[in-house]
């Protein structure tokens, strides 16, 4: 849609301020929680907070890139669940964990590739495709493992996934996450690949006319998202020492809510990974605090859903307000919605 230059300028400043605002809000929520929520500040709870947020954070990395490019993947939680289920089933078959994990990751690649091919080759909308595969992958997970729960994975793996660095509250698993975060930041904000994603999200046709291989880039993104989802599924099963078909159920809601909360524009083309990660840990902290003050799991889902709507709505409302202000400052009448003339 053609907006007036004023709207665009306003949107730009809003998106910049939104990142910062979410970061500031995260700091405020953490400080308030330290001060006023019983049991928040002890090392055990902080390690729970980080450990429980890591699955959201891991998937948020590729999801941020995907949403910047104007696409979305809602099948991520099902892919994670499927990897966990396959992991459990193969373990029951007696395979060694060193073989099982690569197999699960490969399965994630296949899941992502299927999404990517359906979107790029057949030109289907990713929202519809991944709602479909969300159901399909979860269904396969149930077929594979039934209602079993596999818990007897090797101790050193369980210890790594649930343990903390000696003398700190930081889980071991946080370190590899930091490496992946650095890779994602560089890929999105410093490499030609990521720069092109912003162009694809903001103007796909113009990106294509500039020689950017739009379909190839999207296919790579969906595949990486599948890989990261299965990695998360493996982590989940080890972290909670339980492989079930319904692992990570509903996690896609948290991931999407966190990413949008972090200022990634649902329409694509805008946002920063820093903002997205701030959104992830803000959501994680809120969920943690809600558990501490005995808010039920169901009510937490309600809160997450509301946050999602607010984070889509918030930037738009802020934009409207700043457009109106800019309009008043310019002393002009309300802007017409008509696009610029093309005589």
């Amino acid at each position: 849609m053609a907006d007036s230059p004023l709207t665009r300028a306003a949107r730009r400043s809003v998106s910049l301020r939104w990142d910062g605002a979410v970061g500031a809000l995260l700091v405020v929520v953490l400080l308030l929680s330290f001060g006023f929520v019983d049991g928040f500040g002890n090392a055990l709870n902080l390690s729970f907070l980080i450990g429980n947020t890591l699955p959201i954070a891991l998937i948020a990395l590729p999801m941020t890139l995907l949403v910047v490019s104007g696409e979305i993947d809602l099948s991520v939680a099902s892919t994670a669940g499927l990897s966990g289920a396959v992991m459990g089933a193969l373990w029951n078959q007696g395979m060694t964990i060193e073989v099982i994990i690569p197999v699960c990751l490969l399965l994630g690649v296949v899941c992502g590739l299927v999404n990517g091919l359906l979107v790029t080759r057949l030109g289907l909308p990713s929202l519809a495709v991944t709602i479909g595969t969300m159901a399909a992958y979860r269904g396969i997970a149930q077929i594979v493992l039934g209602s079993d729960a596999v818990t007897d994975f090797p101790a050193q793996y369980l210890d790594f996934a649930a343990g903390r660095i000696d003398g700190t509250f930081v889980p071991y698993a946080f370190l590899p996450f930091l490496v992946l975060l650095a890779v994602a930041v560089v890929a999105l904000h410093a490499m030609p690949f990521g720069r092109a994603l912003f162009a694809i999200g903001a103007g796909e046709e113009a990106a294509r006319f500039a020689g950017i291989r739009v379909k190839r880039q999207k296919l790579i993104l969906f595949t990486v998202t599948g890989l990261m989802s299965s990695l998360t599924g493996v982590f989940w099963a080890l972290h909670y020492a339980s492989a079930r078909y319904d692992n990570a159920m509903g996690l896609e809601l948290s991931v999407v809510a966190a990413v949008l909360l972090g200022g990634i524009d649902f329409d694509g083309g805008k946002g920063t990974l820093g903002g997205a990660i701030a959104g992830v840990f803000l959501l994680g902290a809120l969920q943690n605090v809600m558990s501490l003050v005995n808010v039920s799991a169901q009510s937490q889902i309600v809160v997450t859903g509301v946050l999602l709507v607010v984070s889509v709505l918030g930037p738009r409302v802020a934009r409207q307000i700043s457009v109106a202000r800019a309009g008043r400052r310019a002393g002009a009448a309300p802007r017409s919605k008509t696009p610029a003339p093309t005589p």
Binding site: A9, R12, R195, A199, A207, I212, P343
Partner: protein, 505 residues
């Protein structure tokens, strides 16, 4: 033959001192216009002179910033196209938009068909009313025929019939003849004369000057958003009209340098995309500007898209400097030295929400790279360099391109592609919708590029531009290359004849 304004008749529709701006662009400045019943009135002006804005103001799409629209002498405010239609004003566009699966009668009475008891649609009444309209227009078209497959000329007739069914007293025809053949034009003019005799006022827009002289009594000329004159056509020559439209010497607008062409840079051989264009072959040599002309929809843009790799071709070959290009791969075409300045600046040429710097940088994402990362310093200096060279007028290089005027946006698109150092530059409608001053700058630039040894392929619907800039003119008609005309033989008549399929040779 007395002039309507002499007979004491009042104008049915008029604009009085109307101004309209879009951001910094003043599309109309104090323009006045009077349309009398029983008059066919020509609206002349170059692309970007403000004709479209004027039409849209009359049609209720735009509301004037200042000035008035007068209906039967009384000021009115149209809140939308619906208001204008209810006031008896109808616009016939160059390419009508009918529902292809509905019949002619259903299209005309869309949403307001005669009803019988219990709200059932009265098919017979619809048919009869349509047949009656066709009779009034003196045209034979079966009301039951589906709109699909109707020629553009027939579709326009349907639109006119629809306008009559709304009791339209003012018909605005926006370049209705652009896509018509000679006999279709004659039939359309017959209809227009009928309407005139029935007392309608017609505002007629055309790029073909001789048509204005054939059918119009008076002409209003616009230039840069201002009215230059409203006067009778009788006694004027085409040259008089062009002088009013352009307002300057044509040589200045088309600064063509004579260049001795070098080796073949772009070679297109028997290129075919099924159902779109067929067996297209041509060469462009270094230092040459070759125009690809033809009517809208003749396949010119489609050929350019296929050559650059946006669409795949089904048969044929494209070579740049003797090396064949990969089918359907813009990135390899770019690497081979090809650049395409596309037709739709806003959707295809630019990412409107991105900065000037990043837009120019988009074509250099692979070249301004150090250790796998984008070299921001190199990107910025490359963008600044080209923005300055093309004299883009901007406040900050980090501003979004959406803040620029159309002409400056087009310069950013050109900058983006010239920064790649192309051997072959394809420009599709390079000056559409930009002001005359920038237009001259773009022409000077194309001319200079050719002098520097770039092979330029220029697609343009602007005939004076084609004649003023091209060393050779290739003409397409219905997906085929129908003529190649040298600069010395190129006239409006010759190009139009080939474009409409009337080529003698």
């Amino acid at each position: 033959m007395t002039h309507p304004s002499d007979t004491g008749t009042a104008p049915v529709l008029a604009l009085k001192d109307v101004s309209k701006s879009f951001g910094a662009v003043r599309a109309l400045r104090d323009v006045s216009l009077e349309l009398f019943p029983g008059e066919v009135h020509a609206l002349a002006g170059e692309n970007g002179a403000g004709k479209s804005t004027l039409i849209k103001t009359l049609a209720g799409v735009h509301r004037p910033d200042a000035g008035q629209v007068l209906l039967d002498g009384a000021p009115v405010v149209f809140h939308g196209p619906g208001d204008a239609r209810d006031a008896g004003i109808a616009v016939i566009y160059q390419e009508p938009t009918l529902f292809p699966d509905l019949s002619i009668a259903e299209n005309i009475f869309m949403g307001r068909r005669p009803r019988r008891t219990f709200g059932r649609i009265d098919h017979r009444a619809t048919y009869a009313a349509t047949a009656d309209l066709m009779l009034r227009l003196g045209v034979e078209l079966d009301p039951d025929r589906p709109a699909r497959g109707l020629s553009i000329a027939d579709q326009q007739i349907v639109e006119i019939a629809k306008a009559l069914s709304f009791d339209a007293r003012v018909l605005i025809m926006d370049e209705p003849t652009a896509a018509l053949t000679g006999s279709e034009v004659a039939r359309l003019f017959g209809v227009v004369r009928t309407l005139r005799e029935q007392g309608a006022a017609v505002l007629f827009i055309s790029h073909r000057l001789e048509e204005m002289f054939r059918i119009c009594r008076r002409v209003t000329t616009l230039r840069d958003g201002a009215r230059i004159a409203s006067e009778p056509l009788e006694g004027m020559t085409e040259d008089d009209l062009v002088r009013r439209m352009v307002g300057r010497d044509l040589d200045e607008l088309y600064p063509k340098q004579e260049v001795a062409p070098g080796e073949t840079a772009l070679s297109v051989r028997r290129l075919t995309r099924e159902g779109v264009f067929t067996d297209v072959s041509f060469d462009v040599r270094r230092g040459e500007i070759v125009a690809l002309s033809g009517l809208v929809g003749a396949g010119r843009t489609e050929v350019a898209r296929a050559v650059f790799g946006i669409d795949r071709w089904d048969a044929g070959q494209v070579e740049v400097d003797g090396r064949p290009l990969v089918n359907g791969a813009p990135s390899t075409a770019m690497a081979a030295g090809l650049a395409l300045v596309p037709e739709d600046r806003r959707a295809q040429g630019l990412v409107m929400d991105m900065s000037i710097e990043r837009n120019i940088g988009l074509t250099g994402l692979r070249s301004s790279v150090r250790a796998g990362l984008v070299d921001r310093g190199a990107e910025r200096s490359r963008s600044l360099d080209w923005a300055v060279r093309l004299q883009v007028k901007y406040a900050r290089i980090a501003d979004t391109v959406a803040t620029l005027s159309g002409g400056n946006q087009q310069k950013v698109v050109l900058a983006k592609w010239l920064a790649t150092g192309p051997k072959v530059l394809i420009v599709d409608e390079p000056t559409r919708g930009i002001d005359v001053g920038t237009k001259a700058e773009v022409h000077r630039l194309l001319s200079q590029l050719a002098a520097d040894g770039v092979a330029v392929l220029m697609i343009s619907s602007d005939l004076p531009e084609v004649l003023g800039m091209a060393d050779r003119v290739l003409v397409m008609h219905e997906g085929r290359l129908t003529a190649e005309i040298s600069r010395t033989d190129a006239t409006e008549e010759a190009v139009m004849a080939a474009a409409t399929g009337r080529a003698a040779a």
